[in-house]
Symmetry: C2
Subunit: 172 residues, 2 copies
Amino acid sequence: MTISMYKASAPIFVQFLTSLSAVLDKAAAHAEAKKVDPSVLLNTRLCPDMLPLVRQVRMATDHAANACGRLAGAELPNFSNNEATIPELKDRIAKTIDFIKGLKAAQIDGTEAKEIKITFPSGATRDFVGQGFLLNHCLPNFYFHTTTAYDILRQCGVDVGKRDFMGTPVTL
Amino acid sequence: MTISMYKASAPIFVQFLTSLSAVLDKAAAHAEAKKVDPSVLLNTRLCPDMLPLVRQVRMATDHAANACGRLAGAELPNFSNNEATIPELKDRIAKTIDFIKGLKAAQIDGTEAKEIKITFPSGATRDFVGQGFLLNHCLPNFYFHTTTAYDILRQCGVDVGKRDFMGTPVTL
């Protein structure tokens, strides 16, 4: 057993995307029980200048897909970016998981020094190498958005706990 | 350049503990400017059954110290666990950073299969191996608590942005 770029990425993203999808199931159940429109939850923010839940979920899938896809040199999945319901978000998560599972360990292992240029929505670019891209950029951002999605739902009163966030480790 | 247990742990924890400490500086400045007792911020929770900021910060340092210390087989730092001010929390963070920096890469590298038994506060125990302990337990928990600390302060109106959360990668 040796840590590798693949083991530090693909199974981790799949674990926490799977738990995020299950947390959204609990959000849907909460909305139904409380007779709340699920879109109210999806548009909830922790403060006015933070992204709402729907965007936190999209960002989490983006960071996971970008990490694995860029490291592997694979074409990234295309999403509509207008998902506005819990089932649509869960579909996006499922497609991201399928995309990651479709990549082979050999495509991601050994990419520590791979040069990766990222163009941000602002137009700014940043040059990474694979290891820094994964450890210092993608994983922290991914956890930031999955945690904030969870935090928003906790604040909305959805019955989720730390175990729902953590999910179950997967072997790929 | 090859990913290793050390590279996936020590410099990452130091980066995000450093940024957490700087975020607390902004919290202190905010409290002073708004004439708010800093303890109000430290006792803010996102919901009644989540931990307040002060505990989120303590938990973040615990996961970082436990990860590196357990992998390295080093004696863990002892804290009073009654830190109740921003300077006291910043001191705890600084001591955690010093502890991590005091460990050598050779103590942490190669610990992928090391057996680690954790006894939780509840008394329950869980057996890990090093790689799963770091990737599936310590890092996600660490990011969970650093993100939630940040989220609490955003909700309190503290002027922090994503860059404050991300900090700057460090080389150890």
